[in-house]
């Protein structure tokens, strides 16, 4: 049996699925307005109250996406794995070099092709994730301006609303095309991946996939092999799969500093309260 490496926990996969559904619905219901006479809109337009339903669904999905974003922020802040994601997601010089070297490999400038060892989140993923965050912020702000026009227009002139509308549209085009060109290449059309990366369903990557896309991470995992927790001790939501956990942190309980540490210590004290 090939070795599996945990890529996405169940929680993360649910977040991904949630985003995928909401994003798709937002794209469909959004462009159904911009191209309301197009042939593919007829199923919506021909429904009684179709366009009203479209608008309602668009707002519903928008709100759902905003809530998902909020949940994701909490996840990043209050789970160990989340904080690790933030740390690993910070772009650095290495990513620019990886991108540059990939380009040189592909153009046969590097002969033979340089073997690139990329970290847990390679430049592709960082680019996309940061783009997604940027896009979500832009779409949320402009979307709420468009939605609450009466309130917005009490304080701002009409042209700001028009600008918000233009941005909302063009950002949507950009986001949709990015997903198609970038994300779908990474997880579907990449010849190494095709027909599909199963990580979003199973949560796992194979050793081969790890080697191709996240060589550096693979090395680190192998180096830390001794520190790996047992199956049953691995994160419950992770389904007991193998992934690196820093044991020191497990052991150093309640060592987090700052506000978070204070809150956690307080919680512990309350929980263990046995009276004066």
């Amino acid at each position: 049996m090939t070795k599996k490496y945990l890529r996405m926990t169940l929680n993360e996969r649910m977040q991904h699925l949630n985003l995928a559904v909401n994003f798709t619905l937002l794209v469909i219901t959004g462009f159904a307005l911009s191209f309301s006479t197009a042939f593919w809109v007829t199923p919506i337009a021909d429904l009684p109250m179709g366009m009203t339903f479209r608008g309602f669904l668009h707002r519903l999905c928008g709100v759902a996406t905003v809530f998902l974003g909020g949940y994701h922020l909490l996840y990043l802040a209050f789970t160990e794995r989340g904080r690790k994601i933030v740390k690993d997601m910070i772009p650095g010089l290495k990513d620019a070099i990886d991108l540059w070297e990939t380009l040189k490999n592909n153009l046969f400038i590097n002969r033979p092709a340089k073997e690139l060892k990329m970290p847990r989140f390679n430049f592709r993923e960082k680019l996309e994730y940061l783009g997604l965050i940027w896009g979500t912020i832009v779409m949320t702000v402009t979307g709420f301006i468009l939605w609450f026009k009466t309130e917005w227009l009490q304080f701002f002139p009409m042209w700001t609303w028009d600008v918000a509308r233009a941005i909302h549209f063009y950002e949507a085009v950009l986001a949709t095309l990015t997903i198609i060109v970038w994300h779908f290449y990474s997880v579907i059309f990449n010849p190494d991946i095709y027909p599909m990366s199963w990580a979003w369903i199973t949560g796992n990557l194979t050793e081969h996939e790890m080697k191709e896309e996240h060589g550096l991470e693979l090395e680190m995992i192998k180096a830390e092999k001794g520190k790996l927790v047992e199956f049953d001790k691995a994160a419950a939501v992770g389904g007991g799969r193998v992934y690196p956990v820093h044991r020191e942190k497990e052991e150093k309980n309640s060592s987090a500093g700052g506000f978070l540490g204070t809150v956690r210590d307080l919680n512990e004290k309350i929980k263990n309260w046995r009276g004066m």
Partner: protein
């Protein structure tokens, strides 16, 4: 002898008086009889004659039909005053002009008719323009209140359609397109059963479209419709369209421009040009997106175009009837220019107009340009900003998506080449 002489005088008297009696008696008989004398021959259904062109014409008259007609108590000779063709002369009977003159009794109707278009065409020699009998019938004329009458309100359209829905007839006489027979019947007016052709076109004195006295002359149409819809005509007369129409501008719309002619439908009917889903698609744009009219009147086609690109327009084109269409903001019959203080889009009234759909619309809400076209050369500040946003974003999209596509294409190419080796 005396007696004989006396008798001779008496005979003389008799011979002199008797013919007078006979002649008068016969005349009175014909005049006041039950017409049995005429019907004796004309009841025969096979009675025919050939006219100058050799066409066979039936001469039969249904006696019960005549008896039950509004003229049933008249004598044949009251109308057929001078029947003078050979056949009747041979029999020693009175002869008459075969053309019946209704005007003898119906003087007023005839006066109207003489002003009307049908009589004018007859005077010009058109054979098939309508005579009295074409619409009223001949021997079986019934009062127009009688439901069986050709001129009863329920039958007038059928009567007119005999010629005006006949494609061949209409083509021969250049009357424009033939009326589809059911078009009027299915219209909102036809369905009432109380309105018919004559309500708008007039009856005896109906006039040509181009006659300024006609009820259907361009500038008279609002007045004609106002006969039944006075409030609307009043509103329309003061509107920007009504004022121009009254001055005879042939491009300015009247009632029929938007509502149609014979087949006028209720506004809730999806086929109606003033149905809420069509009003901004075809009805207003027929002029306001038309090159010729916009050039002539120095109005632009921008409002239509910018509306289509706006949220209102996009949603509307997708079938959203809650979304504002032209009439939502500009009004319906009482459309006025924005400079008119009574206009819905006058700057003092805009807040209320927007507030119809956007409750709580502030004063600031109603400021700013609505029919906005994104362009860096635009007049309004917003147009320029949106124009620049558009340019920046398009460049951004082309650069980003182009770059990503290029990068991935190379990646794909390299991997494919590696596999092929």
């Amino acid at each position: 002898m005396k007696r004989r002489e006396g008798g001779s005088n008496a005979w003389m008297f008799l011979w002199m008086v008797l013919p007078i009696f006979l002649i008068f008696g016969w005349m009175i008989g014909v005049a006041w009889s039950d017409n049995s004398f005429c019907f004796g021959c004309h009841q025969d259904e096979s009675l025919k004659k050939q006219d100058a062109r050799g066409r066979s014409i039936s001469l039969s008259v249904s006696e019960p039909g005549f008896k039950s007609s509004v003229h049933g108590k008249l004598s044949c000779s009251d109308c057929h005053t001078r029947i003078k063709d050979d056949k009747h002369a041979e029999g020693g009977q009175k002869a008459a002009d075969k053309r019946v003159n209704c005007a003898t009794c119906h003087e007023k109707a005839d006066k109207e008719y003489q002003q009307g278009l049908h009589s004018k065409w007859i005077m010009k020699g058109t054979e098939r323009a309508a005579h009295c009998y074409d619409c009223h019938g001949k021997h079986n004329i019934l009062a127009s209140k009688n439901p069986k009458s050709m001129t009863h309100v329920s039958s007038v359209d059928k009567t007119c359609n005999r010629c005006h829905a006949d494609a061949v007839f209409v083509k021969e006489h250049a009357l424009g397109p033939p009326l589809p027979k059911e078009e009027f019947r299915e219209s909102v007016h036809g369905k009432t059963g109380e309105i018919t052709c004559t309500n708008c076109h007039g009856s005896h004195s109906l006039k040509s479209l181009i006659d300024p006295k006609s009820t259907i002359f361009r500038s008279n149409i609002p007045q004609t419709c106002g006969g039944c819809h006075p409030d609307i005509t009043k509103q329309f007369a003061d509107s920007v369209h009504g004022v121009l129409a009254a001055r005879g501008r042939s491009d300015s719309p009247t009632c029929t421009t938007c509502h149609g002619f014979h087949g006028i439908k209720a506004k809730i009917d999806p086929d109606s040009p003033v149905h809420e889903r069509r009003i901004a698609m075809t009805t207003c744009p027929q002029c306001h997106a038309a090159e010729r009219i916009s050039q002539e009147y120095k109005i632009t086609t921008v409002p239509v175009k910018s509306y289509y690109d706006s949220f209102h327009g996009l949603s509307y084109r997708g079938g959203d009837t809650f979304s504002a269409n032209c009439a939502s903001c500009h009004g319906v019959h009482d459309i006025r220019p924005s400079s008119d203080p009574k206009s819905m889009i006058h700057k003092d009234n805009l807040q209320k107009t927007c507030g119809n759909c956007h409750p709580g619309a502030s004063e600031n809400f109603a400021k700013g340009k609505i029919h906005l076209v994104a362009s860096v050369k635009g007049e309004a500040f917003g147009e320029k900003v949106v124009g620049w946003v558009r340019i920046v974003y398009i460049l951004l999209i082309v650069a980003v998506i182009g770059g990503l596509t290029f990068f991935n294409f190379l990646d794909w190419l390299r991997k494919t080449i590696d596999r092929a080796r």
